[in-house]
Chain length 130, copies 4
């Protein structure tokens, strides 16, 4: 990982979004960047991330940081996904931090912590199951 | 869009990542959150974003902000994609801001602005084409 | 396109499924082929198909057969998607022809032909819209 | 699974493709069915398949046939993926059986059975690894 660049603790979402907007602007790529097209590019990057893990055990996927090259490749795919997320948010004028925070409040109501300890779904009796 | 929450200009990537980590921790969901599983959940959300645009013209997709409900639904899908991007970065200890900035330097070298004006690809003669 | 192989008119779904099963068996790959893993591989191939069309206009995508190399590449991605569909059906013992036919009956009820002429969705008034 | 419909052993690929073509034609949906749009719809269905397995262990995914309802839901997602594969092949005039057979010959050369016993990838020394 390059140490030279400012990290997540010192970077606002708006800064990264501006970087992405400038990159697109400098190449006059906005005519490619319809939300429809970006949603496709984003899905492609999401699948490239998926590809790293497709034949791997779930447990094995927790330990890929043992392989620096693999970890760097995976990190780049995540960066691409986030990059296109910023690109589509730029085109549509969406504030991501507000949306994410609002969604988390919604999710916290949907999945009350005390009820969903270690569980993701409700069973047929209305109680959460694994 | 809820105005009550701090926006992208006032939010570091690290803050949003901590919110996501806390959400997962409070529900003891880390045993679900192998990188393999999260990559699948992320791809599912990317496809839900895709779904909004699947039968729409490219041009039409630029104007969905005319429909506030549609825009809010799309914004939530993007938020979900970014949320899972944070979740997988959390599990793997990846600094996203550094990775995104490094990737942009790499992309700027791959796509020199003067050469790729309004073009995405190189033709068979080595010159960029639309 | 290779002319030497039997085509769709002379090939049952079962034959293609057996070919795929033999391929997997000969390499002892069934331990990789959990339905979870195959669903990931299938999504990766679906995204490779998507990638061919991501920056292209909808109309332009109708004419890629003008470029034989492009068409062959796209055809291979579709073949990969169908191949993994057969692989997962093999693992789970699903009859695809029966399922597809049953689904079409269901879809014909969901989208009555006379009501959905040229339209995909129902509007808020319950009438189909573009 | 409905027993009334002919199964994979008695169904050619061409028959299922014709059923799909008729369904689209009867609703005048071809103007929606650009290859670009269908590739998106296909990716959405692939992700709905993925969704069933996202929080499940690889091993657990092998035993979903114990739950008839779950199996039927998964079968429908696979049917949807194959259905859209037929739809895009219809639009582009691709013979799927020929393409799949040609691809298998290619894959058999890429992954010689004797060399790839139980292995998917070549290691840095050129020998296959798990």
């Amino acid at each position: 990982m390059p140490e030279a660049f400012p990290g997540d603790a010192d970077t606002t979402v708006a800064e990264l979004r501006r970087n992405m907007a400038a990159f697109v602007e400098e190449r006059q790529w906005r005519h490619f960047h319809s939300p429809k097209n970006i949603s496709m590019a984003l899905a492609v990057e999401a699948a490239e991330l998926l590809e790293h893990f497709q034949w791997m055990d779930s447990e094995e996927s927790r330990h890929i940081d043992a392989d620096a090259e693999k970890l760097a490749a995976v990190a780049e795919e995540i960066a691409d996904v986030v990059g296109y997320s910023f690109a589509i948010a730029n085109e549509l004028g969406i504030d991501l931090s507000q949306t994410i925070r609002a969604k988390m409040v919604k999710n916290a109501q949907k999945y009350p912590a005390e009820q969903f300890q270690g569980r993701h779904e409700l069973g047929q009796d209305g109680k959460p199951v694994g």
